[in-house]
Symmetry: C2
Subunit: 237 residues, 2 copies
């Protein structure tokens, strides 16, 4: 599986490093690197916001420069909300991951680079990265909190993985089960004088079919509907 490494460059608040660690652990990511953290590392101020997230991460690696942190990475993306006067490809998070899926081998290390809280990434830091990831933020209020940006990328990575889709607990019943319910319904309605004007019946039946077929009921739900018919039939006697 591709290795994602998140790199926080010159992070100021240890609390944000903790929140970033929690977000990464939430989505099963383990590789966190820090470049020149302002208040040093390790730092106990990071622990409360991490909520235990560091337990699920590899040891945090600390580097003096972004260049060193990127040395063993095969591709790197600078996350920045600001368009720069620089000839680099700009991707949305999804697009960047699609690009990696299409072009990177499974043993590739993919770096996602985040800037300092107030100042973001410098042009020199961005220049070290292969491409830019820009969040689909509102133009008039585009500055994301650091840990929120980490969360966004971690979520998007997890959304491309094996947990991207859940199997709904409601497996729809096979069509024949629906048909046997539906014909019973029509029969019951007929028996109870529902179809007053014979020439309208085909259209009404069709509308009923649409109504009951659309939710793609499970076997259990169809059984419930059978139960309703049974009950109503009893009541009418």
């Amino acid at each position: 599986m591709k290795k994602f490494t998140f790199i926080l460059t010159r992070p100021q608040m240890a609390e944000n490093i903790g929140a970033a660690a929690r977000a990464m652990a939430n989505f099963g990511l383990a590789s966190l690197r820090l470049v020149a953290p302002r208040d040093g590392w390790p730092n106990d101020d990071a622990l409360p916001m991490a909520s235990g997230g560091f337990d699920y991460l590899d040891d945090v690696q600390v580097f003096d420069t972004l260049g060193e942190a990127l040395a063993d990475c095969h591709i790197s993306f600078a996350t920045t909300a600001r368009p720069r006067d620089m000839q680099k490809e700009v991707y949305r998070p999804k697009q960047a991951l699609d690009y990696c899926a299409q072009t990177m081998t499974e043993d590739a290390r993919i770096a996602i680079v985040f800037g300092a809280e107030r100042t973001g990434l410098t042009n020199e830091e961005i220049a070290l990265c292969h491409a830019i990831i820009e969040a689909p933020t509102a133009p008039e209020f585009s500055s994301l909190n650091l840990a929120q940006c980490v969360l966004m990328m971690a979520y998007e990575i997890a959304s491309q993985g094996p947990r991207a889709v859940v199997q709904s607990p409601l497996t729809p019943a096979p069509q024949n089960e629906f048909e046997s319910f539906f014909s019973r319904l029509i029969e019951a309605l007929e028996l109870h004088g529902f179809f007053k004007e014979p020439h309208l019946r085909p259209k009404i039946e069709r509308n009923l079919r649409t109504l009951f077929l659309r939710p793609n009921h499970s076997t259990q739900e169809l059984n419930s509907l059978h139960g309703i018919i049974s009950a109503l039939t009893r009541n009418s006697r």
Copy 2:
């Protein structure tokens, strides 16, 4: 456009309401509702974490119960990391939004419901919603911070909208511009004795073509490559 309403049920920390507001504003969402906020509303403690985000939101609406907050919504999703013993459809964020895109009209109001920080949503609250949204979190560390969960959903909504894709600033050059560069390259290489063994030349040319064609260079980049050839040609004299 579909209206998304985010509902925070029984939020405890005003700071989290502020962080949620910032996350919503970051992604252009405006409708925030609170159900029985523990410390009342309005609350100045929410302002620092909002970083001015409230300026981009509609007035925050406060309700006593989730039922009242949902009254004018057409479909509602309970966000919860925990699978419950309840017959409700479970979606990933993307799936839920795809479902809405396929089934809801443009004037629909779609509610995303978030639980209290420690306890999440109660079974009674979940029962009020049409379906469940479960984040693709790591099973062993699945509890998201409230504002992070809000960020995730806001990001996913924005990712489905018109800002989902960026146009790369690097428009690839038309093929004929590539061909004129490439034939110049080959010519220059020939001139400089690059092709030592004639029988290998077709294969080497093919490999060079692959190498230069793949990045889908822009006109400007091709011009740079031309410049490189010019420079190298000068140097060799």
